[in-house]
């Protein structure tokens, strides 16, 4: 199975990790340069606390180089570029069929050597405020951000990734520069390249752009997070056609990384599939009764310092849906799962993994996140096969308990 994923790893200059996912014969060549730094890293190695939203602000402002906006420079070579900020990662990418080395140099250059021009910082502030407002109008974003607020008491995952309008206004140029100095050193970066490429060419380009000296990786200073949720419930009214419900079960023992995390993620995925996927009896019953629609979904999120399972969607009666979901979990805890259902869920998970191999952007993001979490992506099929019923049931009994539950709802305005 591993021949499906042709993956090479190397260490680049300054300790930068380099991963190549080979796709022979494809025109598209994509590179993602990510830092192990996201919206939840509010504390500098010196102990200074920065305002929420710095990681996301940096994502915007790094595009401003001495030679002009990096987006423009990519466009001038016909390349597509983008960036994203998550709770634990910030990443910058381009994709292009040609001028690969030039584009790679540009990517590495603007991410590692930003000038932070004062006028551009102010310009980006205006754009970011618009972005924050856009998310405030999105019921889906509010639903999940409120769930985080209910789940976490101290962990900064309780804050919006982009910050708030006021925290964005409070961010100073020296916050940006200090966070960049601390978290964008090569030893904290990983480059993932996807396409018909050679590792030796990648390394040669990186060596021209990045000095060889190696700085220590910065620590991640996160407050200790209690294992129980901060609040049971947060409800908000918005202009929506129907209520929306999202139930989150806080994982009391989030894995720190590596194979332990991969195994927990696999076990959680299988457990949630057995309880809530289309092939689960609960799904059929809820769908037929009109309580849920096609958007009903479940998933397991695991980032630095936290993990939780979430389930929910649009519903006419959030209280009833909540009751039925809890009842289903209790029933499964009593009766157990069936071996044949587990095998089927395993086959589905394997098929989904294979399908990601044909989607370069998803593949590169998965490889980047996996690297920062110490997970080896190529081990997925083998670990999936190895996951036992007892692992799945143990995780269910530890995590899917009423005491671990927090609930976010969006209700239509009266």
């Amino acid at each position: 199975m591993n021949t499906l994923l042709r993956m090479e790893r190397a260490e680049g200059p300054g300790g930068m990790a380099v991963i190549l996912l080979k796709r022979p014969g494809f025109a598209e060549r994509l590179a993602v340069l990510g830092t192990d730094y996201g919206s939840t890293d509010l504390v500098l190695p010196s102990g200074r606390i920065t305002p929420p939203g710095v990681a996301h602000f940096l994502e915007h402002v790094l595009f401003e180089t001495h030679e002009g906006n990096a987006s423009d420079l990519f466009s001038a070579r016909g390349a597509y570029s983008n960036a994203f900020t998550d709770y634990g990662t910030t990443a910058y990418l381009f994709s292009s069929p040609d001028r690969w080395q030039e584009n790679l140099r540009l990517l590495v250059g603007f991410v590692t050597k930003p000038p932070f021009p004062a006028d551009k910082v102010e310009k980006e502030r205006g754009i970011i405020v618009q972005e924050v407002r856009m998310y405030l109008d999105s019921p889906g974003s509010r639903l999940s951000e409120n769930l985080h607020q209910a789940l976490f008491r101290r962990h900064p995952a309780r804050l919006d990734i982009a910050g708030t309008v006021s925290s964005v206004k409070a961010i100073r140029r020296n916050d940006l520069a200090a966070c960049h100095r601390a978290f964008y050193r090569p030893s904290n970066l990983c480059l993932v390249a996807v396409g018909d490429l050679r590792m030796k060419d990648l390394l040669a380009t990186l060596r021209r752009e990045i000095p060889a000296g190696r700085l220590r990786r910065p620590p991640h200073r996160l407050p200790a997070e209690p294992s129980r949720p901060a609040r049971r419930r947060i409800a908000k009214r918005m202009e929506v056609s129907q209520p929306q419900l999202l139930m989150g079960f806080k994982d009391p023992k989030p894995a720190k990384g590596g194979r332990q995390l991969l195994d927990r993620r696999i076990a959680a995925g299988l457990c949630l599939a057995l309880l809530f996927d289309h092939a689960a009896e609960l799904h059929q019953a809820l769908y037929e009764s009109g309580l849920i629609d096609e958007d009903f979904t479940s998933g397991y999120a695991s980032e630095r310092g936290f993990a939780y399972a979430a389930v929910g969607g649009q519903t006419r009666d959030p209280r009833k849906l909540e009751r039925l979901i809890l009842k289903c979990i209790a029933k499964a805890a009593k009766a157990g799962f069936h071996a044949e259902d587990l095998e089927r869920a395993r086959r589905k998970a394997l098929g989904n993994w294979i399908r990601i191999l044909d989607v370069p952007q998803s593949l590169s993001s998965a490889a980047l996140t996996a690297h920062f979490q110490g997970v080896r992506l190529e081990e997925y099929p083998a670990r999936l096969r190895a996951c036992s019923m007892s692992q799945v049931e143990a995780l269910r009994d530890e995590m899917l308990k009423p005491g671990q539950l927090a609930i976010s709802t969006i209700l239509p305005r009266k």
């Binding site: 796709r23 022979p24 494809f26 025109a27 598209e28 906006n69 423009d72 466009s75 001038a76 070579r77 016909g78 390349a79 597509y80 570029s81 994709s95 292009s96 069929p97 040609d98 310009k123 980006e124 502030r125 205006g126 754009i127 970011i128 618009q130 407002r133 856009m134 405030l136 109008d137 999105s138 019921p139 889906g140 918005m238 202009e239 929506v240 056609s241 129907q242 996927d277 289309h278 092939a279 799904h283 059929q284 769908y287 037929e288 009109g290 629609d293 096609e294 649009q314 089927r344 869920a345 086959r347 589905k348 998970a349 394997l350 098929g351 294979i354 399908r355 191999l357 044909d358 370069p360």
Partner: protein, 435 residues
């Protein structure tokens, strides 16, 4: 290849009158993507009926008489995805039956493809029934689901604003009709009437079947023909017309909707007045690239980057219907300013006021997008389907050649054919505005 002709880079075989198979075998992929398109003219009752038929057909078959049973079979086939959905291409309404699965080579499981296609065939040819109709409860449940989807369109503000703008532009044309029809039309459907509609549709509507990925084309052609031909009876209906319309500039329709929003959504709709098959079509595509086709374009540069007025500002084409939509998310207080700036950028493109750099960046972005088309099964299918329905399927290489032949003058000329037909503003309740 024997038994196939060539069509826009795909292998083509006419399996029967009105049933065309387009195959693109490619061993680079780890997956197989199949799409059967059933085509009809866009009309309210028929749109609702085809959409509801698809939704009901996806709930199992006579052999797997529940959604649960069907889903368990699909999951057992390495998580094969089977989806029935609807779409619009201009005024052509399509029911899309999609099958996506890992390839037999990737999984090492011979027979996976045949089993997956046969599940799709069962759903289409031998649906669940109750008497002379679809099961009443299934129909009610799926009707409710589609009505919820229609009602929840407002929840996603950017899409809602785009939809509302296009409705304002095409207020008196079939294009105003949504892909699911209307709640009223859905309410009119009965179990017996809908099964009878589906049988007629399946037997007569033109079918364009696509497959892209790692498979043997002769085997795939046999499997797809085997899935579709049992449905066919009588003469096929002709291909529906696209609904492309030319329109002279008039006073644009204007609609303002107020809601509790933090950010206003501004949408401007235009007639392109350039058909897909017209000589100037590539000029139009390039003019749109210059205006709002990416981060290199005027809208992004002027509205977002220079003035910080918006997080997003872009333009896109509905090439078959001949529409262009400009969209931006702006502060409610800045909506007037943003609108004026957008109109100014449009005038700039029309007057050929773009720098050689803007031209070069737009052309490179466009050509690179075309060059990577061949890496994506869904983009390959979309390109061929749109071309076929507009009378001239083109390969990515042909599209690339045409894009490279566009000149600044011809792009500006295509932009001068744009006619502003409508504006939609979704804004906050806080401030009154003359409209």
């Amino acid at each position: 290849m024997r038994g196939f002709s060539s069509s826009g880079g795909f292998l083509h075989r006419r399996a029967a009158p009105g049933v065309d198979l387009f195959l693109l075998p490619d061993r680079r992929f780890r997956t197989v993507s199949i799409r059967l398109n059933f085509l009809q003219p866009l009309a309210e009752d028929a749109a609702a009926a085809l959409a509801l038929s698809g939704a009901v057909l996806g709930q199992g078959s006579a052999h797997l008489p529940s959604r649960l049973a069907l889903q368990r079979e699909l999951d057992g086939l390495c998580g094969t995805d089977l989806e029935m959905d609807t779409a619009r291409l201009g005024e052509i309404h399509l029911m899309e039956a999609d099958l996506a699965l890992p390839s037999e080579r990737a999984t090492g499981e011979a027979g996976l493809l045949k089993k997956a296609v046969s599940l799709l065939a069962q759903c289409l040819a031998e649906p669940r029934r109750q008497g002379q109709g679809f099961p009443k409860t299934v129909l009610s449940q799926e009707r409710r689901g589609l009505k919820d989807v229609i009602a929840s369109a407002r929840n996603h503000r950017p899409s809602w604003a785009s939809l509302s703008c296009l409705r304002a532009v095409c207020a008196r044309e079939p294009y105003r009709i949504g892909r699911l029809g209307s709640p009223e039309a859905l309410d009119r459907l009965t179990p017996e009437g809908l099964l009878s509609f589906w049988r007629r549709a399946a037997s007569r509507l033109p079918v364009l079947a696509y497959a892209v990925g790692d498979f043997d084309p002769s085997r795939m052609a046999d499997l797809l023909a085997g899935a579709v031909l049992p449905l066919r009876k009588g003469l096929p209906a002709p291909l529906p017309s696209t609904g492309f319309r030319r329109a002279a500039p008039t006073r644009p329709a204007r609609r303002v909707e107020r809601a509790s929003v933090e950010q206003a959504r501004l949408c401007l709709g235009f007639r392109t007045n350039t058909a897909w098959s017209a000589a100037g079509f590539s000029d139009l595509v390039m003019a749109n690239m210059l205006l709002g086709g990416g981060s290199h374009a005027k809208l992004f540069r002027e509205v977002r980057e220079k003035r910080s007025l918006a997080y997003d500002a872009s333009s896109s084409l509905e090439k078959t219907k001949g529409l262009m939509l400009v969209s931006a998310g702006v502060s409610p207080q800045q909506a007037d300013r943003a609108e004026a700036l957008i109109l100014e950028q449009i005038r700039n493109v029309q007057a050929g006021r773009f720098s050689s750099r803007e031209w070069r960046d737009s052309l490179r972005t466009l050509t690179n997008r075309i060059r990577t088309l061949g890496d994506s099964p869904s983009r390959l299918v979309s390109l061929h389907l749109e071309g076929f329905l507009n009378g001239s399927p083109r390969t990515p290489a042909e599209v690339l050649r045409e894009a490279r032949s566009v000149t600044p003058e011809s792009a500006a000329a295509a932009a001068r054919r744009w006619a502003h037909a409508g504006t939609f503003l979704l804004t906050s309740r806080g401030r009154r505005r003359k409209s």
